[in-house]
């Protein structure tokens, strides 16, 4: 019984860490720019497809391919920010959200045209399985968790230790004041979106390696990402980390012990319960 619980939890940690990376990409954009960037899930899918393509065509390993896809992701983020969101930065928030929906359709559509409708599984050479006291630890899952940790660590450092990070935090706290202090909001906006989309691309690569990339997967990821945001507190990075892992593990435990058919519903139930009783999230400020 204990082994079963531990196994379910470990399984859940792997997918949970992917949720965290997605949520991180969402929370930086939301917390700093106030935009619910729903198209993030589809951008993640593009990253996954690109990782697959780079791996196959350029005959490079998984991590180099992922790095390359992250670079492309960053560029995509820049384009999205400049062309789609900047024009409505000062318009009512609802406009930005509708643009997010429009972007989702566009990116999904472009993915469909470019990569087709079949599912894509990124095969990796990491197929070992270690037995730790009855719990099977798959090499791939371990690597996914480690990669996610690394990415999160790097972004957290970027925001807390660098000068750019300081500008970003300034805009997040008080945009008019930041402008007065000479912070270039356009530049901050561009950087935030590049970082967010690069993270998204990485998440897509990880999903492709763990499971598969296919039309429709991106939407589900985006929704789960927002569920994590609501759970952890919008704009909170520690919240995104804790929230993602909690969601992944709860899904796994619920699927294992209650019902596997309604697994995806768990995320949404969690979201609704949190909104009812603690709308600022587990780690958000009241």
């Amino acid at each position: 019984m204990i082994i079963e619980i531990l196994q379910q939890m470990l399984n859940g940690l792997a997918i949970g860490s992917v949720y965290t990376v997605i949520a991180l990409g969402l929370t930086v954009v939301f917390g700093i720019l106030g935009i619910a960037h729903f198209a993030h899930g589809s951008v993640a899918m593009s990253g996954g497809y690109l990782t697959y393509l780079f791996g196959e065509r350029l005959a490079i390993g998984f991590f180099p391919a992922m790095a390359l896809a992250m670079l492309v992701g960053a560029v995509i983020g820049l384009l999205i920010e400049r062309l789609a969101y900047r024009p409505v930065r000062d318009a009512p928030h609802i406009n930005a959200f509708i643009i997010a929906l429009g972007l989702t359709m566009m990116v999904e559509g472009i993915n469909l045209l470019t990569f087709g409708a079949d599912q894509v599984v990124i095969q990796t050479p990491y197929r070992g399985v270690f037995n730790v006291g009855g719990v099977a630890v798959a090499e791939l899952r371990l690597l996914v968790i480690l990669t996610a940790c690394t990415l999160i660590g790097v972004v957290a450092l970027l925001i807390s230790r660098t000068k750019t990070g300081k500008s970003i935090r300034a805009v997040a706290q008080n945009r008019p004041a930041a402008v007065l202090m000479g912070v270039n909001v356009n530049r901050v906006s561009a950087i935030v979106f590049s970082v967010s989309s690069a993270l998204g691309a990485a998440a897509g690569a990880l999903v492709g390696a763990l499971l598969a990339i296919a039309p429709g997967v991106g939407e589900g990821l985006a929704v789960k990402g927002f569920a994590v945001l609501i759970l952890g507190g919008l704009g909170s990075i520690p919240g995104a980390i804790v929230g993602g892992l909690v969601l992944g593990v709860s899904e796994s435990l619920a699927a294992g012990f209650i019902s596997s058919a309604y697994k995806d519903v768990i995320a949404f139930m969690v979201m609704i319960v949190v909104l009812l009783f603690r709308p600022e999230g587990l780690l958000g400020k009241r």
Partner: protein, 403 residues
């Protein structure tokens, strides 16, 4: 449209021109299949094989019946494994394109939707890979199926697994889907006769990819074997994740998936030792020269080997040919239908059919193939043994289901 679909369309157009130039009559075939989506692993190879058969027949001079020569033209529609799309697609084929002969039908959901109204139409419907028993249990006069119902195979599989010494089997499958439940019922019945018990029945959806929670649950029960009942892609994930969870028990499945389809998701090592208990479909050791030729031609033409169940559609074309020849004309589907009832197994057929009462199709419009046990060995599906089954007995059982 993807490359394969485009090549089908191009070849079809080219042949249509050829046919028209020779001032022969045209026999229009409508293929309704899942060319995209989760059913595409079954539907696309079927559509391809129908086109290939039509081209072969045209190249050999067409169908000669009652003084006329018919050249075949194929129109393929994608039902996206969706019952509403399938209904619309068939409506379009019958109403707008004037099709009288409908082939293909890989997936039970869309096929059942079409079967619910086909009796009222002036058309003949030949069903392929769709395994839902109810499709032929209703005794629809203008519907025939080349693939045996799922439970016909399930029973044979249950006996086989029992004989291999398993006593406790855990089942994981798309158990919301009718024909998988039918397979399981028959399996459980025969397995019980050998003293076996099903210790778990876990579900997953047709499009699910992460079955680690269900597998973890199953692993804790310590079964002797795992029975996986799902489409190729989810089953592939199950096989892969079972190894990732350190499970070493025998894995039995019912997918009719090709090597290439499985290797897109799992590695050969992860698949090693997996069984597929299914109709004795395309494997060169199990079938005769027709099969070898079919595989070679298909691979050359489409750049990828055919899926094991694709010949169900290929054979449909040759059944149609024989029926048209016997009827003397292709104009009246009712006459052709009457002849289909009486056809013998065409000599070009790839599958090994077991005629019941002297004809290929029994009184329900159902054809039967033998069942076989296939095992994945070093990257290939290897035919290991026959799974004995009794088509005459099953035929009576099926007839008895009609109210």
């Amino acid at each position: 449209m993807n490359k394969l679909a485009r090549s089908i369309a191009a070849a079809g157009a080219a042949l249509a021109c050829l046919g028209a130039a020779a001032a022969d009559k045209e026999l229009l075939i409508g293929v309704n299949d899942s060319l995209t989506g989760p059913g595409a692993v079954y539907g696309l190879p079927q559509a391809n094989s129908v086109q290939m058969a039509a081209d072969e027949i045209n190249a050999a001079g067409g169908i000669k019946a009652g003084g006329d020569v018919y050249k075949l033209r194929v129109i393929a529609n994608d039902d996206k494994a969706n019952p509403t799309e399938a209904t619309n697609s068939v409506r379009k084929l019958i109403d707008r394109d004037g099709v009288k002969y409908l082939l293909g039908f890989c997936c039970s959901g869309p096929t059942s939707a079409v079967a619910s109204f086909i009796e009222r139409e002036n058309a003949l419907m030949l069903v392929g890979n769709a395994a839902e028993r109810a499709i032929t249990a209703k005794g629809i006069p203008n519907l025939f199926r080349t693939r045996p119902p799922a439970d016909f195979t399930g029973a044979a599989a249950g006996t086989f697994v029992g004989k291999r010494g398993a006593k406790n089997v855990a089942v994981i499958g798309s158990l919301d889907v009718g024909f998988y439940t039918q397979y399981l019922e028959a399996f459980e019945r025969e397995f019980a006769k050998a003293g076996g018990k099903i210790v778990a029945k876990e579900t997953f959806g047709l499009k699910d990819r992460d079955m680690t929670p269900q597998l973890t649950k199953v692993r804790a029960l310590n079964p002797d074997a795992l029975l996986v009942l799902g489409y190729v892609e989810p089953s592939a994930f199950v096989y892969r994740q079972a190894t990732e969870l350190g499970m070493k028990i025998p894995r039995y499945g019912f997918t009719s998936g090709s090597e290439e389809q499985f290797l897109r998701v799992a590695t050969s090592e992860q698949m090693e030792g997996v069984w597929d208990l299914r109709p004795t479909e395309l494997t060169v050791e199990a079938l005769a020269d027709n099969a070898k030729t079919y595989v070679a031609n298909y691979t050359k033409r489409f750049g990828t080997p055919p899926s094991p169940s694709s010949p169900y559609a290929y054979d449909q074309v040759y059944v149609l040919k024989q029926a048209v020849e016997r009827a003397g004309s292709a104009e009246d589907p009712k006459k052709v239908t009457a002849e289909v009832r009486k056809v013998t197994v065409p000599k070009e057929a790839v599958m090994k059919y077991l005629p019941v009462g002297g004809t290929m199709f029994d009184v329900n419009g159902q054809a039967y193939t033998s069942n076989g046990a296939f095992q994945w060995q070093r990257g290939k599906w290897v035919y290991v043994s026959d799974l004995p089954s009794d088509p005459a007995l099953y035929s009576e059982f099926l007839r008895g289901l009609r109210k």
